[in-house]
């Protein structure tokens, strides 16, 4: 498989796409965020597995998002997600509030090619009350009344995430971050950015192979060193808490968010 440029990957995301993104600690392709924003994408339906942070917050701030489906939006220790909170107050986005295992269940159903998966809990919550797409059904194996929630399969058009490495065949090493596999199994196309390309097949060694997402599920790979920054990447580098904190403060106003984005663009040009 040829490796692509980041710009090529960004072009594979159309307006209105259902775009799935991983939780911060699993490997977020922050390198793709500014390129998606620069494309002026509109009406994205973003699905966070199972929560979202700075990347979906920036996409919301830039006006790319119509709908967000997530169990939470947070910058972790840096506080709440500023653009998300502002968009909710203004009624500028539709929020499909979820709970973490329900999002996992939706991806699992897609992975299995079945219409839904069932899950305990949630009955009597306002989360369920505000999700008409989730149905309470009777457990068909029980003689007694036993309500259980059916979660429809989540089939994203595109998934984007970041990992330490891929090989020349397009196999990607996800380690024990199995939610990245869930994302890829469920999605039509999966776009991956990596710190580096290795020259030997990741499937050659059984120890490494256990943590590999095979190329079968991968549409395109691009190299982006420090591609998760300022969010950290497991086994590679920690989060830059000072920079995330600066974002949390500056993005509190639309003007501050724009100024932060312009500054980040300049920094990007300086290194490229």
């Amino acid at each position: 498989m040829q490796t692509h440029r980041l710009e090529d990957l960004a072009r594979m995301v159309p307006d209105g796409a259902k775009l799935a993104l991983p939780v911060d600690y699993a490997g977020v392709s922050m390198a793709m965020t500014r390129l998606l924003i620069a494309r002026g994408l509109r009406d994205l339906h973003v699905v966070c597995l199972p929560t979202g942070g700075m990347q979906p917050d920036m996409l919301i701030g830039a006006g790319c998002v119509a709908t967000i489906e997530t169990s939470a939006m947070t910058l972790g220790e840096a506080g709440g997600a500023p653009c998300f909170s502002r968009a909710v107050r203004a009624g500028a986005i539709q929020v499909m509030d979820a709970t973490c295992p329900a999002v996992h269940a939706g991806f699992l159903a897609a992975q299995k090619g079945v219409p839904f998966a069932t899950l305990r809990g949630m009955i009597g919550t306002d989360v369920l009350a505000n999700r008409p797409d989730w149905k309470v059904i009777q457990n068909p194996f029980s003689e007694d009344p036993d309500p259980i929630v059916a979660i429809p399969a989540i089939r994203p058009d595109v998934t984007i995430f970041h990992c330490p490495m891929a090989d020349r065949d397009g196999n990607v090493w996800i380690g024990r971050r199995r939610e990245l596999a869930s994302l890829a199994y469920a999605s039509e196309r999966t776009l991956v950015t990596v710190e580096r390309i290795v020259e030997t097949s990741l499937l050659a060694d059984e120890v490494m192979a256990a943590g590999v997402l095979p190329a079968l599920y991968v549409e395109a790979v691009a190299v982006a060193p420090k591609g998760a920054a300022p969010i950290g990447l497991w086994g590679e580098y920690p989060a830059d808490m000072a920079e995330i904190g600066r974002y949390a403060r500056e993005a509190r106003t639309p003007e501050g968010f724009r100024a932060w984005l312009d500054g980040a663009d300049r920094a990007l040009e300086a290194v490229s």
Binding site: S71, V88, D97, P101, R120, G124, P145, D146, R178
Partner: protein, 256 residues
Amino acid sequence: MTAVLPRERLIVSIARLLEGVRHVAVGASSPIPAAGAMLLRALAERQGKPRVRISILGSREHNFFTNGSAELFDCAGQGRIDAFFLGGGQIDGEANINLVGTGDYPQTPVRWPGSFGSSYLYFVVPRVILFREEHTPRVFVEKVDFVSAPGTSSDGVYRPGGPHALLTGLGVFSFNKAQKRFRLDSVHPGHTLSEIIAATGFAFDHEPEVPETADPDAATLALLRGRVLTELGETYPEFARQMTADIAGLDLKRAG
């Protein structure tokens, strides 16, 4: 009598509320619950009781999971997690919790991060400890504006889990599921029953005289200030540093 920090009382209270659990999970950014769980583990080891497992989400040193972020929920659904902690921007007298926001949903004027796993874990983890340091009427309300997770469920709904206790900066409550009411079991030293009544937006049961939350004995306190603080520093360095400084401050105050 050794002086005890308010936060040390919270940690000791958590260890007491966890007595007997085999596997406790702790959410990310929860240093006080994590410290309480670590103290329980250290105490169990000292007393020759069965090993206590701790899973701290987002920690590399204290996390066994290898199946991604779904594993915690799978584990909980199978009954493999005995205790978990939940907070809430609002908590009401029936132990309903709100992690979403205040005012009319969905365009809430104050929006919090979201429900995370609460809408599930509250149902399946047997011993959920509600923990919120801030004890004010804006947190402890008559009725939550949004139910992220309900305190109780109607008959016929699968509900092996639920609220076990509520710990705040002012006191410790237990929860009666049949009556859907909290009961104040103890008041932290330096605070009063009338202060708690004024700070709580819902009615709760209590004896005419409510006992003080007991201070830890010297051996427990030594374990907390030694081994537990060291372990805590691996995952929450800033919190552990601050607590070490506060403990040193206590000693200075006594010396002066």
